[in-house]
Symmetry: C2
Subunit: 279 residues, 2 copies
Amino acid sequence: MPADTAADGGGIPPVPVFFLSDSTGISAETMGNALLIQFPELRFERHVIPFITTVQEARRVVAVLDAAMAGPVTPLAFSTTAVTEIRDVLHRSSCPLIDFFDLHMSRVESILGVQGQRVAARLHGVGDIQRYNARMAAVEYAIEHDDGQSLRALDRADVILVAPSRCGKTPTTMYLALQHGVFVANYPLVPEDFGSAELPRPVRALRDRCFGITTTPARLSQVRQERRPNSGYASLEQCSYELRCADALYRRHRIPVINSSAKSVEEMSTVILQFLKHG
Amino acid sequence: MPADTAADGGGIPPVPVFFLSDSTGISAETMGNALLIQFPELRFERHVIPFITTVQEARRVVAVLDAAMAGPVTPLAFSTTAVTEIRDVLHRSSCPLIDFFDLHMSRVESILGVQGQRVAARLHGVGDIQRYNARMAAVEYAIEHDDGQSLRALDRADVILVAPSRCGKTPTTMYLALQHGVFVANYPLVPEDFGSAELPRPVRALRDRCFGITTTPARLSQVRQERRPNSGYASLEQCSYELRCADALYRRHRIPVINSSAKSVEEMSTVILQFLKHG
């Protein structure tokens, strides 16, 4: 498990940051980190305090925040807690608190012309059970169809990621399935596939759902070295060859291409989702 | 792929909602949805507009927003765009805009005593490459160790999820790997394991990293029915038996237990992460 790298290195003491939530804390972390990333010269020591659902728990959190206030660096807290009584307790701490609800809720209410509920809302809970079950089914489908393992029900796929081995198909597949319920299969292009101008037979009729992934030869070689050090498979020459052939195949069949060397799984997934929406 | 279910059913026209971002839009969606979930009586028609990185693109977005303003229901936009010139353009639209940066940045700056950069920051980009690679390695590990498939390097696991078949181990495994870079293996408890008071041999020495998952017999039976309809495996009787035995095993070996029938993968993951931190 990677350490909180933002708290590594450097000599300045880190700023204690608390993410407070009546649910998982995912929204509070996302909100807070979107702001903190704008301060790359500072170090932060992050603490997520989830499931603050009672006034008693809120009081315990206030004690934690007040203790941090006694430290050498003023801490900072982000809260997405929705329930008014709990928010009132949290505001009793002397720790600076960015209260997501405080700042936005009344604005949204006035735009929508409706009173918001202000209840602990479990945005990242099961929520809509049908949507949740679809996400879980998509994960199952993704695992079954990872790396061309199963060709059964390949035509159920919304998206088929094709690429040479180790270009980064699997994590993007999992992200799209888990976060968006997209049915994604991924299919490895192997050297035998490059003898033909055609797409490999199993995906030939499904070209419209294919996305090609490419990367740089240096990056691919590096990733393959970790798997099979000093192999022909990992050589820069072999990697260049496979990527050149794959790129030609994508171009010939007008398959959209995403370069994984410069993009995160979240960014690649966003590009794919936009394609699915707008073509 | 599940439809945007919030836009299904009901007779009132949906409120068009736009999530504007210079990056993936994940933060804008998270922020907006945390507020919109408080208005369950309304329907929303969601549009993510990611990668707004130039003034020209921002102008095109303004045209989209202004067109929505001409519709029957006033739209609403959430923006996490950080660059001042782009934000200035977006604010020219007549569409109500909740500007995340506008509202929070100066507050955070004054608390931290440092000027924020206000650059397009790619919170969901590759970012810290070591941390990113650790997440990717964790996904690979999770797939290799899904469902007890490989016992190789089981002692590298930070977490081992144990449970009877179909209790929901796999999606939580993938979530912890993909989002948090936790090395998670999962190990299925099969009826043969219940003959002994011991944990199955491969995880016996790793008890401290084990988390047990349980669910309700009705829910387990329903999930198994989908896999193998009308089988003994899916019968309510068999499911009750396996869950009873598993619960006894967790109790006997003091393994923390999480009930997947009432919790999402995000919630289960949060519980596990808290355990890892605080024991």
